[in-house]
């Protein structure tokens, strides 16, 4: 089938609704179990809260279909965003292929304006690079274009528009491309996770990201979700784990993983030779970069995985607020409460901001604006986690079955391995 007959046939778009037999090898989301290894032995990638894009084979060519469209998606419980994405999600589904594959990617534009797709990091003919006006005409609203190239190297890559880029990226148009090595067993891991860092400015009470915001974002997301809605990563003790982190925000993110040391094994430029790797617990992912980290999950437990910029692990918060830490608000509070009869006003911030999580829990008494998220949230086995934004966990268990991606629940700490409160007298006389 050539392109003309393919697109000219009745129900062409319907026929583009790939795949049939080659169903998306979406890595199982949390709550599901094993996915078999592929014919090359690679472990399918798990896109947190996402899926892989289906394809079909056509004369030896893998055919994908991306549809650029407006979607509505939950960022976290209590907030829905109106993104522009692909195939019903932001980020779009992950394209997964094998080094050497010939791929043909149809792109249908259901947006109100033109778009293109740039295949970030993929080495390909210039005319397939997806820069509107430079390497191809813009894909106008309602049109379908096709890209075709050969994946000449394995690695981790991105796709995103190169048309009205500031707006379209701000609206959530991005996705990942995973190219597995062709040689069986090469760079094999037991768990392979992927996530895209994305930031948005969605004012409380609104739904659509503000495209005019350049720096002051209030939603810091993994795959356009914030904690606690971000899928938990799991691993069996001793497994080799890979996490691919791509950054299409407008700032850098020092990504930190607790409980292990890791090596940065790849970038969007390719794999890093072993001799060039060194141990890290935090790696900075700059704008438009990808960092692939790998480690042996050798310590069971529930381990935090997050951006180390502290304002990226929290929900929306105002700026320029009065600094009330250490401030006695008693008199003023009594006065203010009289100004709001029938409503609840509470002083906040005198002793810290952790009470914000309690405030968020008092939604009926002290409601937040509609369609926004609390500044901090999350409940753990020991109480409030007080996080948000770019935060999730890696749960390592001795008894997790291979291929089991179900959330095992909270870690049962062995006796004597949890920090405990002691009598104040025990602290007396300690060296200072």
């Amino acid at each position: 089938m050539n392109r003309r007959t393919f697109l000219g046939s009745t129900g062409a778009l319907a026929s583009l609704a790939l795949p049939l037999t080659h169903a998306a090898k979406a890595a199982p989301p949390a709550g599901t179990t094993a996915t078999p290894r592929s014919r090359t032995g690679h472990t399918p990638v798990t896109t947190l809260n996402g899926r892989a894009l289906g394809y079909r084979m056509n004369d030896g060519v893998k055919e994908f279909h991306l549809i650029a469209e407006e979607i509505e998606q939950e960022v976290a419980p209590g907030m829905v965003a109106r993104f522009w994405g692909y195939n019903g999600g932001s980020p779009g589904p992950t394209l997964e292929a094998i080094e050497g594959d010939r791929v043909r990617i149809y792109v249908t534009n259901r947006l109100p304006e033109h778009t293109t797709i740039h295949w970030h990091g993929i080495l390909l003919p210039a005319g397939m690079d997806g820069v509107g006006g430079l390497s191809q005409p813009q894909i106008r609203a309602g049109e379908t274009y096709v890209y075709e190239f050969t994946l000449t190297k394995s690695g981790t890559f991105m796709y995103h528009p190169h048309a009205d880029e500031m707006l379209q990226l701000a609206q959530g148009m991005m996705g990942l491309i995973i190219v597995h090595p062709k040689r069986p067993g090469e760079r094999a891991v037991d768990r392979d996770y992927a996530l895209m860092l994305a930031s948005y400015k969605i004012d409380p009470g609104t739904r659509r990201p503000d495209p005019s915001e350049m720096t002051d974002f209030n939603l810091w997301t993994f795959n356009s979700r914030t904690f606690p809605a971000i899928q938990t990563m799991v691993a069996r003790t001793g497994e080799r784990v890979r996490i691919r982190v791509a950054n299409l925000t407008m700032t850098n993110h020092p990504i930190h993983l607790h409980g292990v040391d890791f090596r940065v094994t790849g970038t969007d430029g390719g794999w890093i030779p072993e001799a060039g790797q060194w141990p890290e617990v935090t790696t900075d992912v700059a704008v438009g970069q990808i960092r692939v980290i790998e480690f042996i999950a050798n310590a069971p437990g529930d381990w935090a995985f997050h951006c180390h910029k502290s304002h990226h692990t929290m929900g929306p918060m105002g700026h320029g607020l009065p600094n009330l830490l250490g401030v006695d608000q008693q008199r003023a509070t009594a006065r203010i409460q009289q100004l709001f009869p029938g409503e609840h006003y509470m002083a906040m911030g005198s002793e810290g901001m952790a009470e914000m999580q309690d405030m968020a829990a008092m939604g009926d008494m002290m409601p937040l604006p509609p369609n926004t998220l609390p500044m901090m949230t999350g409940e753990g086995p020991f109480g409030a986690i007080e996080m948000g934004g770019m935060f999730t966990t890696l749960k390592v268990r001795n008894d997790l079955a291979p291929g089991d991606y179900r959330d095992p629940g909270w870690y049962a700490h062995p006796p004597g391995t949890v920090a405990t409160r002691v009598d104040a007298r025990r602290a007396d006389g300690l060296p200072r």
Binding site: P316, L324, V327, L339, P369
Partner: protein, 386 residues
């Protein structure tokens, strides 16, 4: 004017009018004239005055009316007792004013006095609400200043911001002082209108909400027609005009005249018979035009004031919602307490504007009612007069 009430079901005599309480000052009036109404003053002042009570009192004690009562031999005490027998809300045109007679100026004096008293009552009611709002605005400013002081004490606020908060609190105190002064002035005015002792701090039952906008308010033709049929001044002017027209039959003769225009321009025109110029007709016609103009002016003022009040009222829920939204944002630490207090102050300022606009609408309506002969074309639909 009726000094005796018509036969109606009697309500209990108004204690306000006849209560035998000790006066603040010795009553200057002799028994049988206005002693009873003078000693009822303190009692009236101790209870919030409804507009009806104020109107009844003004009818009896208004300083512009009492000299006329003296001339007519009407004892205010007797009038007050007669009024206690009029149940419900007093309707001046229906319950008080008798048929108009040519040359009777008491009728217009009564209408003017009632309008003044109503105006004073509305002003006081608005001043009360304005003072309450100013007090709340002061509380908001004080809370902001107290927070600023506590922040500075904790080492969190520098001097310029602290000074700004202190200045804002002083400004709020100043505005409260203005509001309190306006309240006292309004009390003095109402005391004067109602013949109450000057030291009494009278209060009202509160400025009522505006009823639905009456259709007739914007119908100039209908209002003029109504005035011609109901206002005694109009009736008298119309009669005067008709009379003048009847007696005038100008005999027209053509002759040359010189108008006092530039360059001694000489025009040929017919100015009739000088000896029979229609002076009375012209006067009657001018008088009628002045009455019509007065009605139109009052109607335009009332319509404008009503619209302003409607718009100010429409802003109220929006400003309240803005304050609620600020509280929600405060709850989520999306906005600071300073922003919350600022929204509250804006809401309170809006409330003061709304009260002032509503006061002006009621006052304008009262003066339009005077122009229409003491009554309105149709009752106000909801709420009505307080």
């Amino acid at each position: 004017m009726h000094t005796q009430c018509r036969m109606r079901p009697l309500v209990a005599a108004s204690a306000a009018c006849i209560a035998l309480v000790a006066p603040l000052h010795a009553a200057p009036s002799p028994a049988g004239f206005a002693r009873e109404v003078e000693i009822s003053g303190p009692d009236l002042a101790n209870n919030p005055l409804s507009l009806d009570r104020a109107v009844r009192r003004a009818l009896v004690t208004h300083p512009a009316l009492q000299p006329r009562y003296l001339e007519r031999g009407i004892a205010p005490d007797a009038l007050a007792q007669a009024l206690t027998k009029v149940p419900g809300t007093l309707d001046i045109a229906r319950d008080v004013l008798g048929p108009s007679t040519p040359g009777d100026t008491l009728r217009s004096a009564v209408l003017a006095a009632i309008a003044e008293a109503q105006s004073a009552w509305y002003t006081l009611a608005a001043a009360q609400a304005g003072r309450d709002a100013a007090e709340q605005a002061r509380q908001a400013a004080l809370a902001h200043a107290e927070l600023a002081e506590a922040q500075a004490h904790a080492g969190n606020l520098a001097e310029p911001e602290l000074l700004a908060a202190r200045l804002a609190a002083l400004q709020a105190e100043t505005e409260l002082a203005h509001a309190a002064s306006a309240l006292r002035a309004a009390q003095r005015t109402l005391n004067s209108q109602l013949g109450l002792p000057v030291t009494i701090e009278a209060g009202t039952t509160g400025l009522p909400p505006l009823p639905s906008r009456p259709v007739w308010l914007d119908d100039t033709t209908a209002l003029l027609d109504f005035a011609r049929r109901h206002a005694s001044a109009f009736k008298q002017a119309l009669r005067a005009e008709a009379t003048a027209e009847a007696v005038q039959a100008p005999h027209i003769t053509a002759r040359t005249i010189t108008l006092p225009l530039g360059h001694n321009t000489t025009l040929l025109a017919d100015d009739g018979d000088r000896t029979r110029w229609p002076a009375a007709q012209l006067a009657a016609h001018t008088g009628l035009r002045e009455l019509e103009d007065a009605v139109l002016a009052a109607q335009q003022q009332a319509a404008f004031a009503w619209r302003q009040a409607e718009l100010a009222a429409a802003r109220q829920p929006l400003q309240a919602a803005a304050t609620r939204a600020a509280l929600q944002r405060y709850n989520g630490m999306l906005a600071g307490v300073d922003t919350l207090l600022e929204r509250k102050r804006e809401q309170l300022a809006g409330r003061q504007d709304e009260v002032a606009a509503r006061r002006d609408a009621w006052i304008a309506l009262a003066y339009l009612q005077v122009q229409l002969g003491g009554t309105l074309p149709a009752p106000l639909v909801t709420g009505g007069q307080p």
